[in-house]
Amino acid sequence: MLTLKGMMTALDGELLTPEMNLETECAKFFASDLMSDVLAFIQPGSILMTGLVNTHVVRTARLVEVAAIVIVQGKRPERKVIDEAREHNVPIIATGCSMFEACSRVSGSFLKGRR
């Protein structure tokens, strides 16, 4: 089983929203910069991996009930975006990995956890 904590380690990631439960299981993933596609295709409880950092990412995420947001490519959302995520209990993990690298690492850890 891959937890949020395990995923964060695999990504050399940093939790931008402190004091959140990192024992949540990650079993579904969705990578996109298009919130339109997130709204159309994501399954609730997924991890959303994205390079977008605006407030609409958090609003879309809370609406479709994602388990956590992973922000790739070393980007940092503004304070107000992080505050909104904390308010709605959506963890944000930042990683320096590119989208491809992040997906590849997470996929590797996920498969390893299932073996």
């Binding site: 910069d33 919130m35 339109s36 159309a40 609730p44 977008l52 605006n54 609409h56 609003r59 479709v64």
Partner: protein, 147 residues
Amino acid sequence: MTKDTVFRQEFPVKGGDFSRAGEVSWEIKNLLKELGLSTPVVLRAAIASYEAELNIIMYAWEGRLVLSVTPGRVHVVVEDSGPGIEDIELAMTEGYSTATLEMRELGFGAGMGLANIKKNTDAFLITSEVGRGTRLELTFLTNGQRP
């Protein structure tokens, strides 16, 4: 509004105001949750409402969502004053979009909106008049059965 309506509320939406995008559909989602509807129905209604709210913000001058709930159904009527849609069939095509660069930079305007609204509803009606506005009628069955 029929006599068995258990709940009805109107939510105004201002065109062009991206800063408040998502507030109305968030409120609708929470209201439906409080009414005790099942999670899949709440999610479908929330997603369709969010897309509709965004469409008003992106394309119309002003509009509103009217939520009404009866024992078996959730209705969301979306009305806007705006440019209207010339070719509804084309607008419903996945991937077709007239979004501006600003909308796309925010992550929207990928041409999925109307098709995704329809996908999430149990009944979907759209009418539009060019130069005046667009009206959507969205119905969700609360028993979660898809027709």
